[in-house]
């Protein structure tokens, strides 16, 4: 049977925004969650991924790893001003990951920015095995 592609759906929340991710494996969860984060921040149709970089992350468990991964990407966006669009997890275990990501330096003339994500929260956070892969939820403070 062919594996389904990774995807995410928005989670309705009164003050903020969240996403629920469905993926064939854990790597897919991490990649799709990053996609979800940047879809929230900017219109990615206008972003041409020209600049690439490697990211290494460690955390105490895989849920904290998901929060730390997304927080790191958001931090890089806010301080180095790069909008990321492509995410490839190269190695992943419970407490560490390395990834190749690509994006484009922020250009306020060209890019459409939607919102600022203050933080990636631990609220309602989970990463779990599902019948046909993995599922996760993460909520962002806007």
């Amino acid at each position: 049977m062919q594996k389904r592609a990774s995807r995410y759906v928005p989670v309705e929340h009164t003050a903020d925004a969240g996403i629920k991710i469905f993926a064939p494996d854990l790597k897919g969860v991490f990649e799709s969650a990053a996609q979800g984060l940047f879809d929230l921040i900017a219109n990615l149709d206008r972003v041409t991924p020209t600049s690439r970089r490697q990211i290494e992350i460690e955390a105490t468990d895989r849920e904290a790893l998901l929060v730390t991964w997304l927080s790191e990407l958001n931090y890089l966006f806010l301080t180095e001003r790069v909008i990321f669009k492509k995410f490839q997890i190269t190695t992943l275990d419970e407490c560490a990951l390395s990834a190749l990501v690509a994006g484009e330096p922020l250009d306020l003339e060209k890019h459409e920015i939607y919102t600022e994500v203050k933080a990636v929260t631990y609220h309602g956070l989970y990463v779990k095995e599902a019948d046909d892969g993995c599922e996760a939820q993460v909520i962002f403070d806007l």
Partner: protein, 477 residues
Amino acid sequence: MKLRKVTDYLWEIPKEGGMRVPARIYATAKMIDAIRNDNAPVQAANVAYLPGIVKYSLAMPDIHWGYGFPIGGVAAFDLEDGVISPGGVGYDINCGVRLMASRLTRQQIQPKIKQLVNSLFKHVPTGVGSRGDLRLTHEAEKKVLVQGAVWAVKHGYGTEADLEYIEENGSTDAADTTVVSYKALERGRAQLGTLGSGNHFLEVGYVAEICDEEAARVLGLELDQVTVIIHCGSRGFGHQVCDDYLTVMNRAVQKYGISLPDRQLCCAPIKSPEGREYLGAMRCAVNFAFANRQVIASWAGDAFQEALRMSPNEIGLRVVYEVVHNIAKFETHEVDGEQMKLCVHRKGATRAFAPASPDIPAAYRGIGQPVLIPGDMGRYSYVLVGTQGAMRDTFGSTCHGAGRAMSRHKARKAARGRSIASELEKQGIYVQASSRRTIDEEIPEAYKDVASVVDACQLAGISKKVVQLKPLGCIKG
């Protein structure tokens, strides 16, 4: 969730399970049904599990679902055996509101509102990725973190006289820059003097109604007088401090064997190294926010001069008061007849000290501390004052705003096919924002009616209405 009616404006969740004290929610009968449908009462009950909590876990009428603590939550902890929790302060440390009054009238400003709002939009950086003209080195930024608004005044933003009318006089002591991360410094250093996005704004309005003549006179507020409200906080610096210390506190919870119903409530004893470090870092963010609003206010003054071609004296902008609504502070309150020093967490709640309090400006001691409650873009905001009722029942606290009624997603749907900016313009309110999406997400109907929140506080006796303000124009992220 069991909710027992205490009075017409107060509801109690009785102590059960691991709760150390009951939880109490201020609301009218009409509001309580909507509150019940939210997860927020459960969160108010969860806060009651925390070690050292005194009297009640409280929630103001604008209570809504937050992270760990509900928004609108107030909780006080014993300094000896109590805890401090970053979740009880929130990500936007020292998010707050400044109200300024001017010598101008609505009749003078209305015909020029477009020029004025455009000028404000030009002078005050808004939106994601906006960077102020201030680019600080880490060394300079650390001075901001220690001195707050005092740093801004020293560098030519506003005057010494402004400081008297800011909670804590615009600068909190015991800020410790050695416990702040490199990441927090990086996130903050280009963001001093920026409004940010989301629900933050700068609004030009006027006094539309006077509810308490005497208090309005003391505050120097008259009908049709033009006012400015600034609502923002400690920007990326504060967000990062909160984030950093949630990680520290998650470990502390295990170290000190604190059992919690929700991971986001993570905390540490106030006296522990982790607790003291968070307090030191949080105070740096408190000062960042004080400096931020002081700088923005100064740029707003420049924008008024440029747009109206008037002198600072003719415009006459002065600070009425500035409040903080996301903070933890050491305060002394009476508990069961005894004076007790407590660590009061206010998350989406405002300090509302009663008349005669030594912690409020001398000029206002006859009326109580001013409290500024912003509403949505289209309706109105309120100025209240603190009361003895608040001192007795809520550790000197009241509400902080309207609270959302719709998610951002729902608000965008409601705004689809409409131009919210033109709708507001037809009502005489001119809005400029960095992103159209922000205007859509912030449509007036996405918020609850702030009047009902303020009325509930007045009926419950925890604050008193002084004036209502209506908007003429506003800038957003």
